[in-house]
């Protein structure tokens, strides 16, 4: 990093601290990794987690928006249960009918989530909700499935807006597809597992298509998917 860049970064850091922030966030992932090793300034346990997670997700946020969105950043946790007061799982604890839980989760997406495409996603889920509610033979969207999907998106903030549909059991299925050989589709099951399908170019012979499917936890989904280069077409 050049001296000019370092000075600029220091200025950003000062600006952030002056505004009450605890860490620099206008930095590159490498900067954040370096900053993580610096002595903490009486950070809470939760706050200490944030730079690491931003670095893991490769997320960059401008200094001004950081100040305004400190609470927003706190939603980015590897385990949503680690901050139960602000998790979409809260809704599931309430004694409500499933349809009410889904409505609350839609509001969560729209008003509280950190998902970059929250307005579009909320509109899509609301559309699916209405479609299901209009049909007397249908059961509600699975709120547990939706909650797991929200948590996945919040923990993987670099993904593009997917096509979102419902399975016959009304679980969420998200699909990132740009071509027959660039296809990543995931069903989010109510119990926290996922079923995924990947169609991707073969590494040695790109004219061939590797087709894979499997079952894994929502927390390890990207660990399984990334080696098959799904981020080449599914990330921003």
């Amino acid at each position: 990093m050049s001296l000019v860049d370092q000075v600029a970064l220091l200025e950003e850091h000062k600006k952030y601290l002056a505004a009450g922030g605890n860490f620099a966030t206008g930095a590159t992932s490498q900067d954040l990794a370096e900053f993580k090793e610096a002595p903490a300034e009486k950070l809470t346990e939760q706050e200490n987690k944030i730079p690491r997670l931003i670095w893991v997700a490769g997320l960059r946020v401008s200094p001004t928006s950081d100040v305004e969105s400190d609470s927003r950043l706190k939603y980015i946790f590897p385990d949503p249960l680690s901050d139960p007061s602000k998790s979409p799982f809260d809704v599931l604890d309430e004694m409500l009918p499933d349809k009410e839980k889904v409505r609350k989760l839609i509001n969560f997406i729209r008003n509280k989530s950190t998902i970059q495409f929250a307005p579009a996603l909320a509109a899509r889920i609301h559309f699916l909700y209405e479609v299901v509610e209009e049909d007397p033979d249908e059961v509600s969207i699975s709120p547990e499935s939706l909650s797991n999907f929200i948590c996945f998106l919040q923990n993987t903030p670099n993904l593009k807006y997917p096509d979102v549909v419902l399975t016959p059991s009304n679980e969420i299925r998200a699909q990132w597809r740009t071509a027959p050989n660039r296809h990543f589709a995931v069903v989010f099951l109510p119990n926290g597992t996922t079923r995924y399908v990947i169609f991707t170019p073969n590494l040695r012979d790109p004219d061939r298509i590797d087709r894979l499917s499997g079952i894994t936890s929502v927390y390890t989904l990207m660990d399984r998917a990334e080696p098959h280069r799904v981020l080449d077409w599914a990330s921003l």
């Binding site: 699916l128 299901v132 096509d163 009304n170 299925r173 699909q175 399908v197 087709r211």
Partner: protein, 139 residues
Amino acid sequence: MKGEPLPDQDHVSRYCAPKTAPDGQPTGASFMLDPGHDFLSVNWLEYFDLPDQQAQLTQVRRVIRLNLAANGKFAVLNVGEVVNYVRENGPDNRLLSVLHEPNDDDPSHSGIHGYGFEDDWVADLITEVVQETYPAREP
């Protein structure tokens, strides 16, 4: 006759509810099985012995036992193409079969057999050989 394989050159239609095809384009979810179902319900279009798919689908709309949504779709598949495509492109040489499954209300009712509700990849492959889509309700 119940259980009889449909000819390879014939076609079947699948009703795609808006929840599986929100933008009018069928997705893998349109061809997923309901848990507890043994096959994917479709309608055999040539059963009606009518000159074109529009006319055949008019009959399907009359006999199908589903609430057809205004923004739902029918996806049309060629029988032989579905079977061959899944066998050639799947990871396990999966051999599907498309069999006639008539019932009292719907003599054209048929089923795509050979996969289960967790075989999402089969549903995704079937999506790739959709030949045509039509509105679920009469235009």
